[in-house]
């Protein structure tokens, strides 16, 4: 089966890889490029633990092929912190106890990041709708909503 030579930019840095057609984007990110902050939780496009930004849009990377990302921009949780400064979303999750086991957290934060790019002042209901593709089993979502509100208020 065909191998494809692909080039993807992850958090601003270009990476090249030889991949099989069927390689899932999440496996490229985790197993090949070793950005292990992106997790896998369900395999059936339900949980959102694998959420990354593809050309700025949050998507479930278990349901995209690595070759489909060829030539595109990816952003993972590892790209949130800039110059040793936590992103306000990261601060919010820490301040407001928006995580417990931390497994869904990277995906949840990436969805939140994209939401705040679109809507700088989301209501509680808008936040709940926006994160409804990301499952959390620990927090009951209350503090996640607060964390995202914290970031919204902090962001310029």
């Amino acid at each position: 089966m065909a191998e494809h030579k692909i080039r993807v930019t992850v958090n601003g840095t270009a990476h090249e890889a030889e991949v099989e057609s069927r390689l899932l984007l999440v496996h490229l990110i985790r197993d090949v490029l070793r950005f292990t902050g992106t997790h896998i939780g369900c395999d059936t496009t339900h949980c959102g633990a694998c959420t990354v930004l593809l050309d700025g849009e949050p998507i479930k990377s278990c349901t995209v092929l690595a070759v489909q990302a060829d030539g595109r921009q990816l952003m993972t949780v590892e790209g949130l912190e800039k110059d040793g400064q936590l992103h306000p979303i990261q601060e919010g999750f820490w301040e407001k106890h928006g995580l417990q086991c931390g497994y869904c957290t990277p995906g949840m934060m990436m969805t939140a990041y994209a939401l705040l790019q679109q809507n700088g002042n989301p209501s509680e209901d808008e936040i709940r709708q926006a994160i409804s593709g990301n499952l959390c089993r620990c927090t009951g979502y209350m503090n996640i909503v607060k964390s995202i509100r914290y970031a919204a208020e902090k962001l310029p």
Binding site: R22, E57, P58, I59, K60, L65, V67, Q68, T111, G133
Partner: protein
């Protein structure tokens, strides 16, 4: 969960894409948003030797009004409907629909064309497009053809598309003034397919009578269902509670659901009735009838 091996092709033009489909025939599948196809391949419930990704084919993503139609490019993402001012202001039924498909992350990838071409009676756009009386544009090396939506769904997971055809556009006749529509879905939770759902699109005449009613039902049988009897019944009538109740009853009669974890046959049928009444009421409100 890992798909069986396949070859991936990323054509850069529609012509290339069609050539690939022509070459591989039944062994190929079109990859659009991939949000239904890839899970199927990962579960190994579906197989394909070749995937032809139309994601790099230009000119398949647009939402515009032209020549009396709302035209939606086949590879238009669901999220584009959510964000479109045109859709938000003039096509509430399409906004309703886009907002309840799967979840927001899936909608960033999933396409309107894919939602139709998958032929899944549980998908949401088929009912909407039935209610709107849309047409599907299929393109093959032989050219373009237009398929009326009511002829499009031929069976469970099958459509009128031929192996060498790509769903390149959906055309919705621009509704007359005093039109309105709604999509009402009962789902167990966000991300679920409908237990039952109804799309209703209504155009009112000068005296407030129903000039045209379109009703589509989701997950109510092996294919998406157009509730023709209910539509005909409403024609020319004042859409009051009595008329809506009767139309909803007729719509439920058109269903042939199967039992699954979402509910029994009886429940699904009754929900088709309840939701049809709710969708019609909202549609009439939008149309300015109440």
């Amino acid at each position: 969960m890992i798909p069986a091996a396949f070859d991936y092709h990323a054509p850069n033009t529609l012509a290339e894409a069609m050539a690939l489909l022509a070459r591989y025939g039944e062994a190929a599948k079109v990859l659009s948003g991939g949000q239904s196809l890839l899970p199927l391949l990962k579960l190994r419930l579906g197989y394909a030797d070749h995937l032809v990704d139309i994601g790099r084919v230009p000119g398949l993503e647009y939402i515009k009004e032209e020549d009396g139609y709302l035209k939606i490019g086949g590879a238009t993402r669901e999220v584009a409907l959510e964000r479109s001012d045109l859709i938000r202001s003039k096509y509430p039924i399409l906004l309703d629909t886009a907002l309840v498909i799967a979840d927001p992350l899936v909608r960033n990838r999933a396409t309107v064309g894919g939602n139709l071409a998958h032929g899944d009676p549980g998908n949401d756009h088929p009912a909407t497009m039935l209610a709107l009386g849309a047409e599907v544009v299929a393109t093959s090396p032989k050219g373009e053809r237009t398929i009326p939506i009511e002829k499009f769904f031929t069976g469970l997971f099958t459509t009128a598309l031929k192996p060498d055809e790509i769903l390149t556009a959906i055309k919705v006749p621009i509704p007359a003034s005093r039109s309105g529509g709604a999509y009402v879905k009962l789902e167990r939770k966000v991300g679920d397919l409908a237990t039952a759902a109804t799309a209703a699109q209504v155009t009112l005449g000068k005296n407030g009578e129903v000039e045209r009613a379109g009703i589509g039902l989701t997950n109510a049988g092996p294919t998406p269902i157009k509730a023709t009897q209910a539509e005909n019944y409403l024609q020319g009538k004042k859409p009051d509670d009595t008329a809506i109740t009767e139309a909803a009853r007729l719509a439920a009669q058109a269903t042939a659901p199967t039992v699954d974890r979402r509910g029994s046959v009886e429940y699904k049928r009754e929900m088709a009735r309840v939701l049809t009444a709710r969708a019609l009421t909202q549609a009439v409100q939008w149309a300015g009838g109440h």
